[in-house]
């Protein structure tokens, strides 16, 4: 029989508008997969001809979830172009805000976005709270929010919720699905942490707001430094940071780490969690500046899963192409040469598998033509996976002294071999390890900042934009979803060209002209789905990447100017 088409749109519990289409054979094994972004906003067109100092504010609005990443990238791309080196205080303050973002983002992702792919809320109603309370000690000596009384209260609360028949955000999900593996007790523990994490995320947002003015969309960076000098010089404010940081770190250590360990233990024989990553090339950039010259996470490239060799990133080899994206120019181009003219070719009518397994009228994308607003970024012609898994694998392969012990500890406690990290589970675990690393080492940045403030109160470097000069520069770094780069050209004192190549573009992009799949699509092919009307396995795999689709959808230079003559500098501007 012919393959059946399955459409999943909207993919919920992500940032942005994502559609996944797959074709399954008679055994429900995915033969083909298509990843489609269904929204285009055009921010890189909008930023043109504006004051470069506004670029950070505008680009920040790419995403309210990675609400610091694009802000900093926009500001630092301009700093790079103008040759500005901000004072150490400013750099470390930016790291403190970045740490808040990572901790916030990863906690919210695991509990509120990805969590319901693992946790059967309805099953938790059958749990024995006393038994669950004991269970929590299996994965940590000091569990949070899992006392018998607390679990009983959570159970009662959810039970009433279900009995009233108004499940609100929990309505109509895939409860009871066969690939849910947790016991009722384990589900109850995670449900309790789901609620607790709602409180913790609020504190971690405050952590950023202390020096950011607000979160989402903080407002205390400026080209040349930071503006929150009063907060930095206020010891009570620093004390607040310390307190909230510790609160977040404690939750990461006592709940998040334990829960991922539990998931690794229970799900290690579930195919949708353990199937091997399909794109075995990983790329990351160094990030999280701890002091004058040290970063927590390393840069590099791993090819074909070979951890014995980490290659350096050569920025000249980055290209994007649009053979299957809704833009009219197809050829692969370096971000400095990018061309983009939107060219929407629409969808077509077709019967696909409906909510009850019946065939229903729907629209499908034209897989042979163009089918998404996301381009295909490639490194030296290769598809790359970016994200916490890349960052952790590369740091590990490089022997990073802060990361190696955390990875080894996870592998030892879970009883998994290193190869097990190259999977959906690995992606989820690596994100937790990244949060753990920040929780454990982030205060090095804080302490270094305090030390420096004793002798130096500078927060801003002066500069001037010469109207007659042309500038170019870029930011490259690793953000919660992976490697991010922003590229800017400035002419006549205004932005002449601007491009962002973002993590979710690397992961969610369509197949390229050579038939090379991006990570989302590649990781779905070969996956067996138990019940195609309830494609939980697909969602589980996609969520492991933490999709951020508004970020991924962007435009480049609409005029197609020749920008190729600019030489790209290799080393990311080093500290002071």
């Amino acid at each position: 029989m012919a393959n059946k088409r399955v459409v999943i749109d909207p993919i919920t519990r992500i940032e942005g508008h994502l559609r996944i289409e797959v074709e399954v054979d008679d055994n429900n094994v995915i033969q083909k997969a298509y990843s489609t972004a269904t929204l285009w906003r055009g921010l890189e067109t909008i930023v043109k001809n504006r004051d470069p100092r506004d670029a950070g504010f505008l680009m920040q609005r790419i995403c309210g979830v990675c609400t610091f990443s694009h802000y900093r990238a926009g500001i630092e791309a301009v700093e790079d172009a103008l040759g500005i080196i901000p004072p150490l205080n400013a750099k470390l303050t930016r790291t403190l805000m970045n740490q808040a973002l990572f901790m916030h983002d990863h906690v919210v992702h695991f509990y509120h976005l990805h969590g319901l792919d693992w946790v059967d809320v309805v099953s938790a109603l059958d749990a024995n709270p006393a038994k669950a309370s004991k269970e929590a000690f299996k994965y940590t000596d000091l569990p949070i929010a899992t006392g018998e009384d607390e679990l009983k209260a959570v159970k009662t609360r959810v039970k009433e919720f279900v009995q009233r028949g108004q499940l609100g955000p929990f309505a109509n999900a895939y409860w009871g699905h066969k690939t849910y593996r947790f016991t009722p007790e384990q589900n109850l523990i995670l449900l309790s942490h789901y609620l607790k994490a709602l409180e913790v995320q609020r504190d971690l947002a405050k952590l950023m707001a202390l020096f950011g003015g607000k979160q989402p969309h903080p407002q205390s960076l400026t080209v040349g430094g930071v503006t929150c000098v009063m907060d930095l010089l206020d010891p009570s404010r620093m004390g607040e940071y310390l307190t909230l940081f510790k609160k977040g770190a404690e939750f990461i250590e006592r709940a998040y780490s334990a829960d991922v360990l539990m998931a690794a233990d229970v799900y290690k024989d579930e195919a949708s969690v353990t199937s091997k990553a399909a794109v075995m090339n990983f790329m990351s950039h160094q990030s999280m500046q701890l002091g004058r010259n040290e970063h927590l996470f390393d840069a590099g490239i791993i090819l074909n899963g070979d951890l014995t060799q980490v290659h350096e990133v050569n920025e000249d080899l980055i290209t994007e192409e649009a053979t299957h994206a809704w833009y009219s120019d197809n050829e692969p181009l370096h971000p400095y040469d990018g061309k983009t003219n939107p060219n929407y070719t629409g969808m077509k009518a077709m019967k696909t598998v409906g909510a009850n397994g019946e065939m229903v009228d729907s629209k499908v994308i034209d897989e042979k033509g163009k089918y998404t607003w996301i381009k295909s970024p490639r490194y030296d012609g290769k598809a790359m996976e970016v994200g916490p898994l890349s960052s952790i694998l590369i740091s590990y392969a490089k022997g990073n002294k802060r990361i190696v012990p955390l990875v080894d500890a996870f592998l030892k406690k879970s009883g998994l071999p290193l190869e097990a990290l190259f999977s959906t589970l690995g992606r989820t675990a690596a994100r937790m390890i990244q949060a753990q690393a920040i929780a454990k080492h982030g205060l090095e940045t804080f302490n270094n900042l305090i030390e420096n403030l004793k002798v130096d109160q500078e927060t801003y470097s002066s500069y001037k934009i010469d109207q007659d000069k042309e500038y170019k520069g870029r930011f490259i770094g690793d953000v919660p979803r992976g490697m991010l780069s922003h590229w800017i050209r400035i002419k006549n004192g205004v932005v002449e060209n601007y491009q962002a190549v973002v993590p979710s573009t690397w992961n969610a992009g369509p197949v390229d002209a050579n038939g090379v799949y991006g990570p989302y699509e590649a990781n779905l092919v070969g996956l067996k789905v138990q019940d195609i009307s309830q494609p939980l396995e697909i969602i589980r795999v996609i969520h492991s990447f933490d999709p951020c689709i508004a970020c991924a959808v962007h435009v480049m230079d609409t005029k197609g100017n020749d920008l190729g003559t600019y030489k790209v500098e290799h080393s990311f501007r080093k500290v002071c």
Partner: protein
């Protein structure tokens, strides 16, 4: 309107709400609160804070508390259009003891793509089901601008490939009240900034029904939740300004509520970021603060449970709750008087005067105050009545 009349009116409104069939079999929320370990004291503390946020006097607190306990009767549909999810994130920051879980439990959040467990067809069915079941009774909250008309294909959602515009129109059609959450939904937002490559527009441009705008990029969690409770209390639309913003939240300028206002009046300005003035908390006008032209309560309520706000963090206001602020307020780090764009109110006078005072007559305190008092007259709110 006098306090007494208002009190009576609210009481009647609550009586009406009580008579509505409960979504949850008329279960009493107070009993849930008790069971869930939310103490009466914590709850009243929150109600008190919310009462103040709404600009009501303290004797209204019991009514606000009662309104909160009735809110489970109100289904909420939240749609994502062309947006960045920042407004949803802001909603999640809702504060006071356990209030996020309170909201989570007691407002029936029927559709919200960032939070809901269902996906794909099941998610689409949730939306259809909510509109059908709660026709004329649900509150619609929309986040994001809307690519419309010939450009509507820039956003599609769901297996049927419907455009965002169609979905928003359909949901608006049957809503009891419509709130445009955030500057994108209220005014088109960042994607509608020049040259607006996707033809994005405000929600109010694609529906004929009244839209209450709750702008901000994003609006504070207080303004989002406060707007909801305002509706629950009044049962009618709140008093709105010329841009359909609730006056309780957007009635005063950032400048009016600014902690650095004294510095402005005294002529003490930050001349450059990081200077001595910055360390002392001088006024940020000369490094581009748009507080004199921006109507919002940021300085009063702040963000993230009163943690901070941009001006406390040393950066000027960028005017994010005003229409077209991306085009009219930039460059954000230069005073309005120094830039080429049109003023937000087309040079109606008050802001131009503020510029002269800010840049020129730095210590002309008297004139400054007079000028700032003027601007609200130009705003010409639609109605002062409830």
């Amino acid at each position: 309107m006098k306090d007494n009349n208002l009190y009576e009116k609210l009481s009647l409104r609550l009586l009406e709400l009580e008579k509505l069939p409960g979504l949850k079999n008329n279960e009493n929320i107070k009993s849930h609160l008790d069971k869930n370990g939310v103490s009466r004291r914590d709850f009243m503390k929150w109600a008190g804070a919310m009462t103040a946020t709404l600009g009501l006097s303290a004797n209204f607190t019991p009514l606000v508390a009662k309104a909160a306990t009735l809110s489970d009767k109100l289904p909420i549909i939240w749609l994502h259009m062309a947006e960045c999810t920042g407004c949803s994130e802001s909603l999640l920051r809702t504060d006071a003891p356990t209030i996020d879980s309170l909201i989570f439990d007691y407002i029936s959040l029927e559709y919200h793509e960032t939070l809901m467990a269902a996906a794909g067809w099941q998610a689409e069915h949730n939306l259809e089901h909510a509109i059908e079941t709660h026709k004329g009774k649900y509150i619609l909250m929309v986040e994001g601008g809307i690519p419309s008309g010939n450009n509507s294909f820039y956003l599609t959602v769901g297996g049927h490939g419907n455009t965002g515009e169609t979905i928003a129109q359909n949901a608006s059609e049957h809503a009891a009240a419509i709130f445009a959450i955030g500057t994108c939904s209220a005014f088109g937002g960042v994607q509608a900034a020049h040259p607006n490559p996707t033809g994005a527009v405000a929600l109010s441009k694609v529906t004929n029904k009244t839209v209450i705008n709750v702008p901000g990029c994003p609006p504070s969690e207080k303004n989002i939740v406060g707007t909801l409770f305002h509706y629950i209390l009044y049962g009618t639309l709140p008093a709105l300004d010329a841009y359909n913003r609730p006056k309780w939240a957007y009635g005063l300028r950032v400048h009016d509520l600014c902690e650095r206002r004294g510095r402005f009046d005294a002529g003490e300005f930050v001349e450059e970021f990081g200077d001595e003035g910055a360390k002392k908390g001088y006024c940020l006008y000369k490094v581009g603060c748009k507080g004199p032209y921006t109507f919002n309560n940021c300085g009063k309520n702040r963000f993230n449970s009163h943690t901070s706000w941009p001006i406390q963090a040393g950066h000027g206001c960028i005017g994010c709750s005003e229409p077209d602020f991306w085009d009219k307020m930039g460059p954000f780090e230069e005073p309005v008087a120094n830039r080429l764009f049109n003023t937000p109110f087309n040079g109606l006078g008050a802001d131009a005067t503020a510029d002269k005072i800010g840049v020129g007559l730095l210590t002309a305190t008297g004139i400054g105050i007079a000028a700032h008092a003027m601007i609200s007259k130009f705003k010409n709110p639609k109605s002062d009545e409830e």
